[in-house]
């Protein structure tokens, strides 16, 4: 250990205090929202005067909320599939390719992570306005895919770099064609990378706010857009209910991811 805790004297209590305070700071809004979503106060009083489920009832009674969730889910799944479909060959080219400019290609695929989202948003906004595609499924998917692609490329490149190409060569010398070797040996070996790439791609799409605001039309909204437009009007506790559901989903995804990683890495 870097400096053993019990050798640090009183300094360690300072560290503990900072860690405790930081955890509290990080969890404060998360826990707070969860509490409020069950509170009966329309004005978000804390502590709430009483407990209720009515904000969840309002949420599930409103077809617009449900519609926006459905749009988010569809877009997310579509982005996830396309992100892997495009990212997989790209990652193979980056890792296996022997052409000049390979590093530049890698940088290019990751570049959307560097460009501030607001810039991508207005650039795409101009494009889809020209094409008359605002509010279309295609606009959402294309916009989200730009942000999701670097994640699948990074995940797959990392696992592909960790995969010893001799194993694929061994399969070929055993009599497998290149395609057979990739399908039966390489892809199964890098499935953890593909899976994380898919998961990240979905989450990127599911959570994306800025691009979605610009892609949306009053008729078609993803869940974050619906939250955004609602938030700009008032701080209704319905948002607390939605947020709580999203937090529960986050925890579920974290647990599933931890479980999968432990199982597959075995």
């Amino acid at each position: 250990m870097i400096l053993t805790l019990n050798r640090m004297g009183r300094g360690r209590f300072v560290l503990y205090a900072i860690a405790g305070a930081t955890s509290a700071f990080l969890l404060l809004p998360v826990v707070f929202i969860a509490f409020l979503s069950f509170g009966s106060s329309q004005w978000l009083q804390f502590p709430p005067p009483g407990w209720t489920l009515k904000w969840y009832e309002v949420l599930f009674a409103d077809p617009r909320w449900l519609a926006s969730m459905l749009v988010s889910l569809k877009v997310g799944l579509c982005v996830m599939a396309l992100s892997i479909a495009l990212g997989l060959p790209a990652a193979f080219a980056i890792v296996r390719g022997r052409f000049p400019g390979r590093a530049a290609l890698h940088a290019f695929f990751i570049s959307p992570m560097i460009v501030p989202v607001i810039i991508l948003a207005i650039a795409l906004y101009a494009l889809i306005l020209k094409l008359g595609l605002n509010g279309s499924f295609l606009a959402f998917v294309a916009a989200h895919l730009i942000l999701a692609l670097p994640f699948s490329v990074i995940c797959i490149v990392n696992s592909l770099e960790g995969f010893d190409i001799s194993v694929e060569k061994a399969a070929i010398i055993c009599g497998a064609t290149r395609l057979q070797a990739i399908r039966r040996v390489t892809l199964p070996a890098i499935r953890l990378g593909i899976l994380s790439g898919a998961l990240f791609s979905f989450l990127v799409s599911w959570d994306e706010v800025v691009l979605s605001i610009f892609m949306a039309s009053p008729g078609t909204q993803t869940l974050p857009v619906k939250m955004w437009t609602t938030l700009r009007q008032d701080l209704t506790p319905v948002i607390a209910a939605v947020s709580t559901l999203l937090i529960v989903m986050t925890i579920a995804v974290m647990l599933v991811a931890a479980f999968l990683r432990r199982r597959i890495a075995r």
Binding site: M1, P29, A90, P116, I146, I239
Partner: protein, 262 residues
């Protein structure tokens, strides 16, 4: 390669045409850029942006360093709990977290009420719809981005180096200042540059926690394009932001290296 075609159509093409807009609308030339850099009102926006990004970077570093350090030296079980808290906050929906801060910081929010109840203040403090609210919200959101690279660097340092320093007679304080801190500089650089660059172009949190009086750059870009339909000025502002971002990213690559993994 399909990915290449896709990125060309939806990244390169829109960005290039946006650049064209910035130098052709309303008239050909660099008028938009001159206006942005010359006008005091826009200068104010640029100042706000850099100021908030700078403060957020410093605060996250000061809070984040001890946390990253603890993550590296705590017993595994406790460290996992702390890490889970960090990841949970990081992965929770951005709007959900921002909403939480909107509620916490509002005039009738829990912070103001508590302070009034304690008799510390008579009138609610203006915690939201100003740069203070933006700074709180952004610090909260950026904190994990400084903790994680720092943690990676700190846990990559061979503990035997510290032991070697101790056995040669260095006191813990000396070990920290003369060994640990210099060795963790790459992590500090990586974390700070990442937070600073992200903060420069951040849109959501300033838009929700900030006020109309003190805008930041990303808000201004959106406003110019969406509400004022002033595409020329909006896209020029976008390219100023992009240029600044790329400069800092170049520094990042210099300091940390690209895609290097520990």
């Amino acid at each position: 390669m399909p990915a290449l075609v896709f990125l060309f159509l939806f990244l390169v093409l829109p960005l290039s045409s946006l650049f064209l807009v910035s130098v052709t609308e309303p008239s050909l030339g660099l008028g938009n850029y001159a206006k942005l850099l010359g006008d005091a009102a826009y200068g104010r926006v640029l100042f706000n942006t850099f100021f908030v990004a700078g403060v957020v970077t410093c605060v996250t570093l000061v809070i984040g360093y001890p946390v990253a350090w603890l993550l590296a030296i705590l017993p595994a079980r406790t460290a996992h709990l702390l890490m889970a808290a960090i990841l949970l906050s990081m992965w929770t929906n951005l709007l959900a977290r921002t909403y939480g801060w909107m509620v916490l910081l509002q005039r009738t929010g829990i912070i103001n009420r508590t302070l009034i109840d304690l008799g510390l203040i008579n009138e609610p403090l203006p915690l939201i719809n100003n740069l203070f609210g933006v700074t709180i919200g952004m610090t909260y959101i950026m904190l994990p981005y400084v903790i994680l690279p720092l943690h990676a660097t700190l846990s990559g340092i061979d503990p035997a180096i510290m032991q070697a320093a101790a056995i040669t007679g260095a006191k813990p304080r000396q070990i920290f200042w003369r060994i640990l801190l210099p060795l963790s500089l790459p992590g500090i650089g990586a974390g700070c540059l990442m937070v600073f660059v992200m903060a420069l172009g951040y849109y959501v949190t300033p838009a929700l926690l900030g006020g109309t009086a003190n805008m930041m750059l990303a808000e201004m870009i959106a406003q110019q394009v969406q509400s004022l339909l002033n595409w020329g000025l909006g896209s020029a502002a976008a390219f100023i932001l992009l240029a600044v971002t790329l400069v800092f990213f170049a520094i990042y690559v210099r300091v940390v290296g690209l895609g290097k993994r520990s």
